[in-house]
């Protein structure tokens, strides 16, 4: 009697039980299959978007690189290197000052500086104290000139015809109303090449308006440093011939 009652009760609630079981199974299926799939789709979409962004950057970079003329860029680098060399390069300081003297028509009465460490490798090793990428050398400079030539000299120093010289602490004594006895400090700079290029996705740097103007001026006025080996005439290999 009691069993029959129980069975009839069960029959009465059977659909309720079945749907409860299905609900539990569904919950388990959602939890273990559908939600992980959803998460995976989200992750894949993010990865895909990142990859598409990377592809765009690389495509743009490749386009930019394709637009560069290697020979032209190398020539520009040599010219820029003449303006701001990668090492102290004492020879270019003297030759630069000689050129400036000849071009402006001034008479250099004194130019001296402390070269410090002359070995070329040290230029790249010694870090700059003030976090500036470039390093500098000061040259004490004195010259006699007339007003016009002195102003021409100051103008030429910025013209990038030689390596860059920046004047400081200018002192002028007037020998006559038009003849100046000048003395000042000329700071010249050097900058080692960057040790690394950066990541593959780093876009190529773009020149701003001011940088483009400087580049044009350097292209126009600077003389490229040649990396060609100097040619020496060789003597006879056999002295008795």
């Amino acid at each position: 009697m009691k069993i029959n009652d129980l069975l009839s009760k069960l029959r009465e609630y059977q659909s309720f039980f079945i749907s409860s079981v299905i609900a539990v199974v569904l919950f388990w299926l959602f939890q273990n299959y559908l939600i992980p799939n959803g998460t995976k789709i989200g992750e894949m979409l993010t990865m895909q978007n990142d990859l598409i962004a990377k592809e765009k950057i690389l495509t743009k970079k490749l386009e930019d690189l394709g637009g560069l003329d290697e020979v032209e860029e190398l020539l520009l680098l040599r010219k820029v290197n003449a303006v701001i060399p990668q090492e102290k390069d004492i020879f270019s300081i003297f030759s630069g000052l000689d050129t400036q003297q000849a071009d402006a028509g001034v008479v250099i009465t004194q130019s001296d500086f402390t070269a410090g460490v002359v070995s070329t490798g040290s230029a790249a090793i010694v870090p700059a104290a003030d976090n500036k990428p470039y390093k500098s050398l000061d040259v004490s400079f004195a010259a006699i000139a007339n007003k016009e030539n002195f102003l021409t000299l100051l103008n030429n120093l910025e013209s990038f015809k030689t390596r860059l010289f920046i004047p400081h602490d200018v002192k002028i004594s007037f020998v006559s109303p038009d003849t100046l006895d000048t003395s000042f400090i000329l700071t010249t700079y050097y900058l080692p090449f960057p040790p690394q290029l950066g990541t593959l996705e780093t876009p190529l740097p773009q020149l701003s308006g001011q940088l483009a103007r400087i580049k044009d001026k350097i292209n126009q006025n600077a003389t490229a440093i040649s990396d060609a080996e100097p040619i020496f005439e060789k003597g006879k290999s056999n002295l008795f011939q």
Binding site: E12, Y13, S15, F16, F17, I18, S19, I22, A23, L26, L29, F30, Y33, L34, N37, I41, M44, Q48, L51, K54, E55, L58, K61, L62, L65, G66, L68, E70, L77, V80, V83, P133, Y134, K147, L151, L154, E158, L164, I166, P167, H168, D169, V170, K171, I172, S173, F174, P177, Y189, F193, P194, L197, G198, L204, P205, L207, L211, I214, K215, I218
Partner: protein, 189 residues
């Protein structure tokens, strides 16, 4: 008198049981619908994952191809970056310097002919010190009033200070002048 009394011997309907059955039926329909929905969603998500995987692989291949092409042009990239860094440094150096040519040209131009320079020094801090000589007291007076208008009307020179006037035996006057340059005004040019 005869009375008839009717007795219903049938079981009274179980209202609660009927309700449970009804709810159970609805729940099982919902459960089957949800099961169907799960199957549809699972199939769709599986297909989407496969599609995204294929797309990701093809994009990855393209990226690898692009990376290889860029690596082939590494030399020109290195040259470009080296030039850029140097140009950038040159710009910074030029920005930080005083435009001495413009400053001296301006000073030479505004000085009246009756005034002669003896010395000028322009410091890195923008302080200009001049030792000048005026041929007469009138020239000296004109020069001092010129300096005051320079301070008032133009923004190029500030704190103009004329000090230590001394008279020479020939009637000329020596005057020391100091002022501070407004660097921004010269950099505008």
């Amino acid at each position: 008198m005869k009375s008839i009394r009717q007795i219903n011997l049938a079981h009274a309907p179980n209202k609660v049981g009927e309700k449970v059955r009804k709810i159970g039926k609805i729940l099982s329909i919902i459960s089957f619908l949800l099961l169907g929905l799960f199957l549809i969603l699972y199939t769709a998500s599986f297909s989407l994952i496969s599609y995204l995987s294929i797309k990701y692989n093809s994009t990855q291949e393209r990226v690898t191809e692009l990376s290889n092409l860029i690596s082939e042009k590494k030399n020109v990239e290195a040259v470009k970056i080296a030039s850029f860094k140097k140009l950038n440094s040159i710009e910074k150096i030029l920005k930080s310097q005083l435009p001495y040519r413009l400053i001296l040209k301006d000073i030479f131009e505004f000085m009246p002919s009756s005034i002669q320079f003896k010395n000028i020094s322009v410091g890195e801090d923008g302080v200009v010190t001049m030792e000048t000589s005026a041929s007469s007291s009138a020239a000296l007076s004109d020069f001092v009033s010129l300096l005051s208008t320079k301070d008032e009307l133009e923004d190029k020179y500030k704190n103009i200070n004329a000090s230590s006037v001394s008279r020479e035996s020939e009637g000329a006057y020596n005057l020391n002048v100091t002022f501070v340059l407004n660097k921004a005004k010269f950099n505008e040019n």
